[in-house]
């Protein structure tokens, strides 16, 4: 193998990762922002390490945010291991416990958990922010 070929081969992963990063940043910044209420994916374990697992509460979602007022449920999240759709939002681990407690008592304290998505038709929607009663989750904890 020539040194040029080896150089190209070794550069490919960096190139692809860079391109992927650019595409993801474009995607997250180019869509319209939609706000969707969430509920626990698994009520026993909402928080799992660095990310929270949740489901979108489509029954209480405002579908007017989308084209023709129809919620594109299939486009959001991925199939979970135990059935149903599962979504993720990453948080620093040190705040996991506090957030978990808030989530458990959300009904008692009238807390509304929402995730702001960047949505663009034909692209995978991307979670941008986690809101508690309309404010950034950091403020709530």
């Amino acid at each position: 193998m020539s040194s040029k070929f080896i150089g190209i081969i070794l550069g490919l992963p960096i190139l692809f990762l860079g391109m992927w990063g650019v595409i993801l940043s474009f995607q997250i910044n180019s869509g319209i922002e939609v706000r969707l209420p969430i509920m626990g994916y698994d009520p026993r374990d909402l928080l799992s390490g660095h990310y929270i697992q949740y489901q979108i509460d489509w029954e209480n979602a405002d579908c007017r945010q989308f084209e023709n007022g129809i919620c594109p449920e299939d486009e959001f999240c991925v199939e979970g291991r135990w059935g149903g759709k599962q979504c993720r939002f990453y948080i620093p681990e040190e705040h996991a416990e506090a957030l978990d407690k808030l989530f458990i008592k959300r009904n008692d304290e009238d807390l509304v958990f929402e995730v702001v998505y960047s949505y663009k038709k034909g692209f995978k929607p991307m979670a941008k922010e986690l809101l508690i009663n309309g404010k950034d989750w950091r403020e709530a904890i």
Binding site: G7, I9, L12, I14, L17, Q86, E93
Partner: protein, 319 residues
């Protein structure tokens, strides 16, 4: 030292001269003494990589996102560049070290993107993405183990056991992996390919085939084989598959005069015969008879094999 002892013995029995013995020893020391060094380098690579990951992880939340991304790409670039330099300098150990580090860094970068952009993908898609993007490092590596790890990551996407819910599907999946394994084996034999990937894939796919055959045997082939008068077609088929697979492999080993392969499969076949008998009888007396019968079956098998192949007659295992 094992080789030294062997050489001394050969010299003592005048099979080779002392000068030849010394030459052999020097040759072996020069070219075949790298196992410890290679393993040490691989372990060192893993430890350094994990160490860096842990240090970064301990301050993870305080580091700005852009710095994390730049750090990841910087390290990936540095490892790749060092791998490149060492490939050109023909320094195998350092090449392996930097290829492994670069490979780990690709996984770390994917994980980082997952965090930054809140990607929903699960463990399987992470493994597949990592394997695909890490392919160049694996192609350049001379370590079969590294290649196998890569293959395992890639195969996560198939989630093999979800497709093997019946005897027939498990059987066809096993056949599929055997075929690919043979394909890789032929590729190695027929071409002067210097890549380790086909060898690693051949081993990996055959290992999966073994696992699937084990599943066939234990799940479908042990339903009171000798005890049940209404023995099902499935049980018979499962045993035909297990015996066919191991027997076929033994035949292949005889043809290729591969003693270790032959021993391994004979041992597995003996174990299987023992399990078949042991799983059937329920009281001590009957179990005793079962064990004696399984021992006799194994002895009979060895006797038949000894008679049928000249190679086996001369084999070390039967002396």
């Amino acid at each position: 030292m094992k080789l030294k002892k062997k050489i001394d013995k050969w010299v003592e029995n005048e099979l080779i001269s002392e000068a030849q013995g010394n030459s052999i020893l020097k040759f072996e020391q020069k070219y075949n003494n790298g196992i410890f060094g290679k393993t040490a380098f691989i372990i060192a690579g893993l430890l350094i990589g994990l160490g860096i990951c842990l240090i970064v992880a301990s301050n993870w939340d305080e580091i700005p996102t852009i710095l994390k991304v730049l750090g990841c790409f910087g390290m990936l670039g540095a490892f790749s560049y060092n791998a490149y330099k060492n490939i050109l300098a023909k320094n195998e150990k350092l090449t392996e070290l930097f290829l492994i580090l670069a490979f780990l860094m690709v996984g770390a970068t994917i994980g980082l993107f997952g965090q930054i952009f809140n990607l929903d993908g699960g463990f399987n898609s992470f493994c597949t993405g990592w394997a695909l993007l890490g392919t160049p490092y694996v192609l350049l590596s001379k370590s079969v183990r590294f290649n196998i790890v890569w293959g395992v990551l890639l195969l996560k996407v198939w989630d093999i056991f979800t497709y093997t819910k019946s005897l027939s599907s498990t059987f066809f999946m096993a056949v599929f992996f055997i075929m690919i394994s043979i394909g890789c084996y032929i590729l190695i034999k027929k071409t002067n390919i210097s890549l380790k990937l086909p060898k690693a894939l051949s081993k990996l796919f055959m290992f999966i085939a073994y696992a699937l055959i084990c599943k066939i045997g234990f799940k479908y082939g042990l339903d009171r084989f000798f005890y049940n008068s209404n023995i099902s077609f499935e049980v018979i088929m499962a045993n035909i598959i297990v015996f066919g697979f191991l027997g076929g492999y033994m035949w292949f080993a005889i043809k290729k005069q591969d003693i270790s392969l032959f021993k391994r499969n004979t041992f597995l076949l003996e174990i299987w015969i023992f399990i078949l008998f042991a799983s059937v009888y329920e009281n001590l007396f009957m179990s005793g008879i079962g064990f004696i019968l399984s021992g006799l079956a194994i002895l009979g098998m060895i006797k038949i094999l000894k008679k049928t192949s000249k190679f086996i007659q001369n084999m070390e295992a039967f002396k």
